[in-house]
């Protein structure tokens, strides 16, 4: 539906709702015409978008929670168990593995590096998990492991952009922007695309990872901060109570309504709606983000401590936002870049700490969603921007002081659950040392196409015209992987 149509519709709805404005309470209704809640109409017909008809199948998932492990965790220490690599430990890497390859840091001939932690099989599915994720071991029968995911990039920022915008260069809309552009939000009082960041700082790709690129800026991700104000400029200035603010917004909209009568520009109606929405968000956002009201057992389950920036808090927040109909909830947890160049980047140092930070909350998130009957309609995705080499990194030819691995895009593990994907299954295989995929590989564009498919979107049809060309999340690639779908 075009903007004009939306505005016409808004005008209609305005005329029926003007008594709300007249009698002094703040009316509803106008908010729905905002770009903020997506390109779909106020009537919430699920599948009509600005970009035309992009639906092909009925949606299996209503929303996505994407747990991105920025910095790229080692699949060889978590999910992709390679006993042979143990026997090759500390032996020079054969030339055949190095020929024609470009690495970020490895130079010359590095040594192989065996798995650094013990693995066991868990659940009825017999899924391999290392000792670093003791809680997650109990959830494996709910999870789909994808072991031969591959990407084209081997540096953080480009690879993260590739994962989240489908292109390694800056300037393209992010995954969540595309989805909210297509589907809008389910909750007209909250943004459709929310970003939660934890770790010592944000991901390398910066805010472009949740930018709207060439899509209107109303589709960009809104960062909710877990410390301080959840949304920038959300709080009234000191001394201004909610009541006083209410009077102000009432006066603004009353004068704006008068202006609309005189001037006739429907954009004024849109602005009135946005002021109502802002007023409502001042209420809904603090409520939605207030994890203190959760019962103790939930806090224990997630390992949350209110008012701190943590992955655990963000997982719980993600569930609360999912409950309230936020369409795309993007988590970033940084600090996985285990090169072995210092203790923070050490597989036996920082890496272990990261595992402890995510193990309990991500497991709790799966269980919690399941417990509430929400897992079916919520697609949870976990993974880094690429994987790590089976070789010990030798930066500029000299073996690093700690155990660590270089960036590697040819094969790495991601997992998904809920939202109509098969569970307790492992899809894709890598070779005996986990260097490359040998069966059922999944390219990033395939993964993106598949996730969109679960949301009921045909990835080839959700397009936007920019610089004379129709762009889409998956560029000109991507195949839906039907084998992993229920």
């Amino acid at each position: 539906m075009g903007l004009l149509d939306e505005l016409k519709q808004a005008e209609g709805s305005y005329l029926t709702r003007r008594h709300f404005l007249k009698n002094g309470s703040l009316g509803l209704g106008l908010a729905a015409l905002s770009g903020f809640s997506g390109c779909q109409s106020a009537a919430n017909s699920f599948m009509t978008g600005e970009s035309g008809d992009f639906s092909k199948v009925a949606p299996k998932a209503k929303r996505v929670i994407f747990l991105h492990m920025a910095g790229a965790p080692s699949q060889l220490e978590l999910f992709d168990y390679k006993p042979l690599l143990q026997t090759l430990d500390n032996k020079p890497c054969p030339d055949s593995l190095l020929e024609g390859k470009r690495f970020a840091f490895i130079r010359g001939v590095p040594n192989m590096l065996g798995p650094q932690f013990a693995f066991n099989q868990y659940g009825e599915s017999g899924t391999w998990v290392s000792d670093l994720l003791p809680h997650f071991q109990s959830a494996v029968d709910d999870v789909l492991m994808m072991k031969a995911v591959h990407t084209e990039e081997f540096n953080h920022a480009p690879a993260q952009l590739f994962m989240h915008t489908g292109s390694p260069r800056l300037g393209k809309p992010s995954f969540g922007s595309w989805v909210t552009y297509g589907l809008g939000s389910e909750n007209e009082n909250l943004p459709g695309f929310v970003v939660l960041v934890s770790g010592n700082s944000a991901p390398s790709g910066g805010k472009s990872l949740w930018g709207s690129g060439f899509l209107p800026s109303s589709y960009q991700g809104v960062e909710f901060r877990s410390k301080g104000e959840p949304v920038l400029y959300m709080s009234n200035p000191d001394g201004v109570s909610r009541d006083i603010r209410k009077d102000a917004i009432h006066a603004i909209n009353q004068i704006n309504e008068q202006a609309y009568q005189e001037v006739g520009d429907p954009e004024i109606l849109s602005r009135m709606a946005q002021y109502e929405m802002a007023f409502k968000m001042q209420m809904t956002v603090p409520e939605a983000t207030d994890v203190t009201e959760e019962p103790d057992y939930i806090h224990q389950m997630y390992g949350t401590k209110p008012n701190e920036v943590s992955f655990a808090n963000n997982c719980l927040l993600a569930r609360r936002l999912a409950e309230r109909g936020v369409r795309f909830i993007q988590l970033y947890h940084r600090g996985w870049d285990s090169h072995g160049s210092n203790n923070f980047e050490n597989l036996h140092g920082g890496f272990v700490e990261r595992c402890q930070e995510i193990d309990r909350p991500m497991t709790a998130l799966i269980q919690d969603l399941k417990m509430r009957g929400m897992l079916e309609e919520t697609l949870v995705v976990w993974g880094g921007e690429f994987g790590r080499t089976p070789m010990q990194e030798n930066r500029e030819g000299i073996t690093n002081p700690f155990k660590g691995r270089d960036h590697h895009g040819d094969a790495f593990t991601m997992w998904m659950t809920g939202g109509g994907v098969k569970r307790g299954m492992s899809y894709g295989e890598t070779d005996e040392i986990g260097y490359g995929g040998i069966k059922d590989k999944i390219h990033i564009h395939d993964l993106q196409a598949t996730i969109l498919h679960q949301l009921g979107i045909d990835h080839e049809k959700l397009t936007y015209r920019f610089q004379g060309r129709d762009f889409r999340l998956t560029d000109v690639h991507g195949e839906v992987i039907h084998d992993i779908l229920v």
């Binding site: 903020f36 390398s204 910066g206 805010k207 800026s217 009234n236 520009d265 004024i268 968000m281």
Partner: protein, 755 residues
Amino acid sequence: MNKIIIGIGILCLLALVSFNFFEEEVDFNTDVRPILNAKCMSCHGGVRQEAGLSFLHREAALETLPSGDHAIVAGSAKKSKLIELVQSDDPEMIMPPLGDALTDKEIKVLKRWINQGAEWVDHWAYIPVDPEVSPPSISSAWSSNPIDKFVLKTLQDKGYQPSPIADKSALLRRVSFDLIGLPPDDELANQFLDDSSETAYEALVDSLLQSPHFGERWAAMWLDLARYADSKGYQKDNIRKTIWLYRDWVIDAFNSDMPFDQFTIKQLAGDLLQDPSDQDYLATAFHRNTMTNDEGGTDDEEYRVAAVLDRVNTTYEVWLATSMACVQCHSHPYDPIDHEEFYESYAVFNTTKDADDGRDSPKKFLLSDAQRRYKTQIKHELDYLKTVGDTLTDSYKHKVSTLSDVLPLSVPIMEEIDRTPDRASHIFERGNWLVKGDTVSAKLPGKLNKFTNLDIKNRLDFANWIASPENPLTNRVFVNRLWEQLFGTGLVETIEDLGTQGAKPSHPELLDWLALQFTTDMKWSMKSLLKEIVMSSTYRQSSHVSKELMREDANNKWLARGPRVRLSAEQIRDQAMVVGGLFNPKLYGPSVMPYQPEGVWNTIRHVAKWETSQEGDQYRRGLYTFWRRVSPYPSMIAFDTPSRELCVSRRVRTNTPIQALITLNDPVYVEAAQSLAQASIAAADDLNSQIQTAYKKALFKIPDDEIMNTLLTLYKSTTQKYREDGIQDQDELHRKGMENVTSVIFNLDEFIMKT
């Protein structure tokens, strides 16, 4: 009998001829090309030529096909296979085989076009402006200048009436924001409002054009195109400490009304001019605004190539509104440039020394003109103090130290590589820089060079070609950009794309006439062009719109009313500071850091610190706000500034609740509202006049009774609530009441919009 038959035959022939004669001639570009593009070209184009047929060029389309048929027989729709097949009843035969059949209207157009000779005409924007283009002869009291004649002609054809001239207060705000990006100062405002003579408006326009803030306002537009930022982009997004000198060069260039052809040449190839000055070098920083990647482990050559590709794309978008996103990978029949030609343009830019290194070299030590003028001024002052023997004062010492602070800075510039060994330029197969195809050398794209017909060797030649009056695109593109800035929509809506895939011009003759004036009579003067536009009655119309007109022309394509457009991110913030009396009008200098909530820059690794500017620098124009690409200033990005990673021609204007939260709660707006409240209290005695003062300061008019009542009611309910909260002090209650009133004024639609 025979005679009769012959007679009837002649009559028929005459009828046919006269029918054709009076029938309006089909325009290939407007009428035919869109049909061919939409319905035929995907199978019968450049890449795919099913049945040996291509509609790309006339010669190809008229050729005898392998089947012996002729798709088109010029002059005879009847004999043309094309017409037979598009209206076939046979589902096996009908063209196109998939998708919608041609409508009756489309078939008629094709028939007429073929009967008229099936001429292929170049896309309108690739044909130079007709030097004879002139306004239609219409006499009307409404019309102030030739622009209005073009507009009025279209309005009459469509059956619309122009709107009356806007209220003085609206016009004052409109033209002030359009020319200097700020509301007018009190003096200028009063001069205009009090002057009822016919020349009042022109005097206002002339003053605004002379304002030093003029350059700042237009730099804000240009810096989006130049993808100017204070950081380098990508993962580390390190700071580019001296690039602001380029920003100051742009402000200066606009303020001095540098002819646009010079403005163009200096930025693209100032380093290649004969005896280039420091300012010529500084101008070339335009293309050093490309991103560089300092992330460990990245391939410098990969990002050098990316930067060069960006320069090609940016140059074509900025000056030629020609989209390159496609041809980087492959050719399309409708693109003016093919894959190989793209890389011939790439070869023009692939000759500079910069190589994605961490130091941003090559650089040059230099002073901007603004710095030089500043130095000269201080020297004069010092000389004066010396002559009066006043050299022991603090003021003298302070001036001496200021003088020594203004040192040349090292700015990234463009510079050619030494020619040995030559760096070869290759075609990249499917756009992949690792898959190199044939070697190419610098050359202009054929379709765009058809009328200029130049050979080029280097960047300077390329720049001269762009800036030549014969270039069919440059003047149209720039005129259209300015029109978009003033009216909210370009005469060609897709200001970034004047190609075949872009929108059609709403007023083609007007666009051409303005483009022609710009390069001839106006001698590429932007100020003359702007004056011509803002002096028109078209521009001065009221923006009020009736329901009927809204229904029929929601986007104001036909210009039966004045522009009503939201102010830009910079303008909204600047306006609040000016009206609130916080504004610091200082020009030029390093970028500043106004208040930003804690933690916003935590998003960035290797954090450079955001340190809030002091001494009034936090109230400088938005243009000077430090621009970090991975984390632009939050309130700017919320009002639709691009991130400046890539060239962006058009800011999409959104309307979101986050924007409302900013103008309600961002400390700069809160402070401005408080400050306006205090100033109004000081300026008048009673409540009514105080509210009127505040409202007039913001909107240059007195509120009507209804608005006054709303604001008074608000004032009363606010003070009542504060009283209930326990505030006793009358002055404090009054102030708080007024602050809520001024905050409301700052959030009115009329205040956020240019009306």
